[in-house]
Symmetry: C2
Subunit: 416 residues, 2 copies
């Protein structure tokens, strides 16, 4: 049986342990919700102060050039690129994941509309268990285009091969499922889509900074993702969109704002998309929230996704092991795959009173979250989570369950 001492010993040997010092974490809290909102890099406050007091307050409008505000979406995209197997000039940090997904889906449909078999390809295939906003954006786009586009939902991964066929324009999948923590095989599923003549758009919301991703190697066509979860960019920090070099010339999307124009300050009345990744931009970005994304990325540059992944699997393995040992007499159901290759950086357990148990955990300083139906989510961020944290979290869970110390009438607050 693993003991707390064993966990402390592992922490003492953990090559990532020192990175925790670069985060501002509240005392008395074990934070297992970095999959929803990443913790604050200590440097983010100073970065924001610099932007607000110096760049905005003192340099004012000049900062668009002198402080590099104009280039920030591309510069941050280039810093993020190595984490997801993207090349320089393939990523911009901008807008929201939902809006970027709209751009990516629209562009993918447009690419398909220009291929010989286009007339027959009018279906976007995705999973019913996908994060809802992804499905909503696909519905919004397809219904507004009104050319017979539709969204097909599959109920399990096993149904994908049969669902993807000659009528499929785009396969849209979230790489790591927000609720179950299931991780798709990106290479195999991309190949499946391509064999059927479809394009594939990946949502990396729960992947970027959480698991190794190699978009170019694994044949992805387009991708979007989030910077406020595992990348620790701050609450609601702008999202990203990836357009590989090979698709950039044919990438066209309807949110054709001036930031995507070839010469935005020529003030020409006709839209002409710029070359390269810039055509995925639309309007003026929220600079303070955008700038703090850099503070999160700087931490990743001190380690590697391989090291992060090794610790992530160790943490999630340990959590599963300890919960199953120490809470064995309670009705907990593991939702997350045991198989490493199919697991993200979270562990989800069902419990009949999942919401109430999670509320009790949060009240005792173990912060995870809850997702319908009956699922308690625990996210493990190797940059700031220790093995002892895992032990302590499970111990508190055990106490709550053994004592039935939760209120099944607990009021339900929404948490993102």
């Amino acid at each position: 049986m693993t003991t707390r001492e064993d966990c402390l010993a592992r922490d003492a040997l953990d090559p990532l342990a020192a990175l925790r010092l670069q985060f501002d974490l509240p005392a008395g809290v074990i934070y297992l919700d970095g999959n929803s909102l990443g913790a604050r890099p200590t440097s983010a406050l100073a970065r924001a102060q610099q932007v607000i007091a110096r760049e905005w307050g003192q340099d004012l409008i000049r900062s668009w050039n002198s402080a590099g505000w104009f280039d920030l979406p591309k510069r941050l995209g280039n810093r993020l690129a190595p984490l997801i197997g993207a090349a320089d000039g393939e990523v911009v940090v901008t807008d929201t994941t939902s809006v970027n997904l709209f751009k990516a889906l629209a562009a993918a449909l447009h690419m398909q509309a220009n291929t010989p078999a286009s007339a027959a390809r009018r279906v976007i295939v995705t999973e019913r268990s996908n994060f809802p906003t992804d499905i909503y954006m696909a519905e919004g786009l397809s219904s507004w285009l009104a050319r017979g586009y539709s969204v097909k939902l599959v109920d399990s991964v096993d149904e994908l091969p049969a669902a993807i066929g000659a009528d499929t324009a785009v396969v849209m999948l979230t790489h790591v499922n927000y609720r179950s923590g299931y991780q798709h095989d990106m290479a195999a599923t991309s190949a499946l889509a391509h064999t059927a003549g479809a394009l594939i758009v990946w949502d990396l919301a729960h992947s970027a900074g959480a698991v190794p991703v190699d978009l170019n190697r694994d044949g992805a066509d387009l991708a979007v993702g989030c910077t406020y979860k595992y990348l620790n960019g701050g609450p609601g920090s702008p999202a990203f969109i990836w357009v590989p070099l090979r698709h950039q010339a044919s990438f066209q999307q309807p949110l054709s704002g001036w930031w995507g124009h070839a010469a935005p300050f020529a003030m020409a009345p006709a839209f002409a998309p710029t070359e390269g990744i810039g055509r995925a931009l639309c309007g003026t970005q929220p600079i303070v929230s955008l700038a703090m994304v850099e503070s999160g990325l700087e931490v990743f540059e001190q380690t590697s996704m391989a090291a992060i992944r090794a610790k992530s699997l160790a943490l999630t393995d340990l959590f599963i092991e300890l919960v199953e040992q120490r809470c064995a007499n309670h009705p907990l159901g593991l939702v997350t795959p045991r198989e490493h290759a199919r697991r993200g950086s979270q562990v989800s357990f069902t419990h009949p009173h999942g919401y109430a148990v999670m509320a009790a955990l949060i009240a005792r300083g173990v912060i995870g979250d809850y997702r319908e139906p009956a699922i308690m989510r625990f996210g493990f961020t190797p940059l700031y989570t220790s093995y002892a944290d895992v032990w302590d979290a499970v111990e508190i869970l055990r106490q709550i369950l053994d004592d039935a110390a939760y209120d099944i009438a607990a009021k339900r607050d929404a948490v993102t």
Copy 2:
């Protein structure tokens, strides 16, 4: 002839003079570019620090509820509403002006598609001189819908009556022109659109906080606008969208993200728009940039748009008077209307070497900006601009022109 002493005397009597103390302005600068990026309210730094250090750093995911992050777009919308003649529950602060315009145009086209005469209404009418991103977004939307929609550009306000007709679905105008400072008659133009059976969408980018606006009184159908110009929300701070109560039930737009869902945390796979203004929301917002919008709005609550407008007209009248007196022997051409009702809160002059003259002004601490072709823009923000500032700016302009102290080969940087 007005003297500097006259200007100082007017400052001494100015009821808004004290509000300047609520802004952090750099020493040695006369800032006449608040129409591009508003100056920093002093309180914005503390507000950001609170959000970053306390709400994000210490309270983490709990702040979505405990710090009111979820409600921020609506709460800020309600605080902004009185400045534009909107009611409670009609405005949200979210996304970019470009993205909000896409939503508004799409919703307006959808409303028209459900009216009896819909088949014939496929044209969006706007001005060639409109801010380009507005035209680009209209082009993007209309070309993607591919049902025969198109954008018709008029070359002057006088052409609007003839251009708006039985084929017009939507008239889309920017209330105050970014380049000339021309202000449309919102009531008359809205009536013109309605008489022709069209809807009218107003862009308030250069109006909100700059001139009195009364959207409900003046018959607007939908509106969008910017918070980082006259509202002083910070660089790229999120924009706003106004949907009047009478149109909310029929307001549908394709960027149907989870923040616009009736029950976002039910995680249902089908989109169902929420009641009310929330259906104009899409994805998760950049909270730090969003929160600082409140610091700008708080300043407005200490005065009135009537008082701001009175001083704005006095400042722009004074600037025109002094430039025409003191720089009379130079080839300056007034672009902005002299008529008060047709003027925004800026003054634009052409000069054959406008870019070089503006560069020389900026080098001497008078910050305006330049717009093609040959236009020098000077924005006047009554909250932090004094009459003596106007005198001093004109004096420096006079010196530069008299001495020909500008470099006509000056390198051109882009400024937004």
